[in-house]
Symmetry: C2
Subunit: 356 residues, 2 copies
């Protein structure tokens, strides 16, 4: 019996997910640079090493330090270069091969403050409208390449694109449309810039698509665990989901068809997806026993520590305070980030992760 | 210059907020039991002690332990009694005066497993539809009181209500309507149960209302920091907000009127409020200098580490990568929960908080 919300990871599913995606990428002779922001664990990093993966991406300096200390010596910091961190980048670049993003042309000046060589990748915004130079602004992109090349210490290593808008796609067709739009653009970009290297992110595209012709490197992250959002997007099977959170049931209200679990916003985050009835869903709630993995309902709302479960009709009669349920989270990256550690689903062993 | 998202707390505003609410409660001869889930800090606990506050509420066992170790000896665990924690409750009850919630009648049997005496408060659901016995079910409530009283070790201490639906109110009028509905119910409940003690939560009601006639104890939490949600609800002035998060600006896109900060879902949570244009807002973005506290725009979306700022017209020209902005968060409790510590706004000193 667990006492509090506890994050479980199924090692064999994680290893299978790594192998599946790695195989797909290898078959096309592309480079695999998994994004480690999802798991933030040196132990899981070793499962990648066992598959002969040598590169990784991270989303913060502290993650870069953590994986550098754990034997990763070729790390992409897939986040806009932060001028406040020049000294930290310099120190890190003395230890490992470090790649940084140039996502705003004005930061070029700050690279001069970094004395140890780094790779500079220009981030391009192809439609997510988060960070990166506008894809249409070819003049600015070419001018920026020239500016980077004036620096004799650092090396221009290519372009980075994150098609994060795929996470908000309505269906797999929309993901495919985004992918082909980007592929067409990459073809044009390679022609204009002399076949420059392109690194591409996002789990939905890489899980669903087969054609990566104009892409050189792939850096998905979420696929390591997947989650309910990915399943609902159609990018993974339910059996591919390697993460769940065991939670104590603390109250059941059969007359409302609802139950309360210990498991709230501080465990699941406030990330939700919209169900077909227009209401948000914060997680799928199932019985925890593997043999009897019945769906019980879904998390309809979260307070700081409370989760309110909307039970499917009739389920309330068999559930009671003192039971344990397993929740498949909507967004595994955020759940994993808030966890202090994981337990392995079969062995119960602790899987260590980065401390905050 | 800060390097990463950093949570600041203004001590003088926190102390003012404590004094204001405490004074209001004392004037009506009610008991003040602030909810410490918002700050989770023994240092801030001392600021309450300095105002002669002796009781507190928490929302998890680990918080109860933390404050017990830090000299709080009368703690309400304002969360449904969890049958998996009987041994932990027993141990804690040997150290301090502990109050637990009975939120589901079926857990009565588990109190027998706790040998050291605890106070048992029946949680009543008056409309939030989270946890608690249905307010209309007077028979069940009275039967549950009798059941609790059969136990010779523990003591029935009253009712607890959290009017959490006030956080979703459209305006202050709606908060008042909820309050008067509850007050009317409490009057009836006291008549029916022999003037039983009533503990009442939620910051909006306690900040806005003046009449707590049928309430014996008040346990707001959020008021210690307040936040942008409370300000937009109309329950606090902007000058009452004691928390902000300094974030590095890492990219500015004047053509989109947008900027990117380091500050994402792992710093702010995914909590949002709806702006008048129907789009979600994840925080208000301001210049950090106290003297030049101009509003720059709002956080329109969050990834794991990225925050996308929608800038007000014209602002983009004066903002650049390398600048720092201050974000007033939508929900201070969740921001504070994810922080490892706070910095005091004037002195820059570290304010320690509970470790995860």
């Amino acid at each position: 019996m667990i006492k509090e919300p506890t994050v479980y990871i199924n090692e064999s599913i994680v290893r299978k997910n790594i192998r599946t995606i790695h195989k797909k990428i290898k078959q096309q002779n592309k480079q695999f640079r998994p994004h480690f922001k999802t798991h933030q664990s040196a132990v899981i990093g070793k499962w990648f090493k066992a598959e002969n993966v040598k590169f990784c991406a991270v989303s913060s300096l502290s993650m870069a330090w953590y994986f550098a200390k754990n034997g990763w010596n070729d790390i992409m910091l897939a986040f806009p270069m932060n001028p406040a961190l020049c000294e930290d980048y310099e120190w890190l670049a003395s230890k490992i091969k470090l790649e940084l993003f140039l996502s705003d042309v004005s930061v070029i000046q700050y690279f001069k403050k970094i004395i140890n060589p780094v790779n500079i990748r220009i981030e391009i915004n192809t439609g997510q409208n988060r960070s990166g130079l506008n894809m249409e602004d070819i003049d600015l992109i070419q001018k920026t390449i020239s500016e980077i090349k004036k620096n004799t210490i650092h090396r221009f290593s290519g372009f980075a694109v994150h098609a994060g808008e795929t996470y908000h796609a309505q269906d797999t067709k929309q993901i495919k449309t985004i992918h082909y739009r980007n592929m067409e653009y990459f073809q044009k970009l390679k022609l204009l810039t002399g076949n420059v290297n392109i690194s591409y992110g996002d789990t939905p595209s890489i899980s669903l698509m087969e054609d990566f012709q104009y892409i050189d490197e792939l850096r998905p992250g979420n696929f390591v665990f997947y989650d309910w959002m990915q399943n609902q997007l159609g990018t993974c099977l339910r059996d591919d989901i390697a993460i769940y959170v065991k939670c104590p049931v603390v109250a059941v209200y059969p007359e409302r068809n609802e139950a309360i679990i210990h498991g709230g916003a501080v465990h699941f985050s406030k990330e939700s997806i919209m169900a077909s009835d227009g209401y948000p869903v914060f997680g799928l709630v199932t019985r925890n026993s593997e043999a009897n993995n019945t769906d019980l309902g879904y998390l309809k709302s979260l307070s700081q520590e409370h989760g309110v479960v909307k039970l499917y009709p009739g389920v309330g009669r068999n559930l009671k305070a003192g039971d344990t349920v397993s929740v498949i989270p909507v967004h595994s990256c955020l759940v994993a980030d808030m966890a202090t550690h994981y337990l392995e689903a079969s062995s119960g062993q602790v899987i260590e992760k980065m401390k905050k």
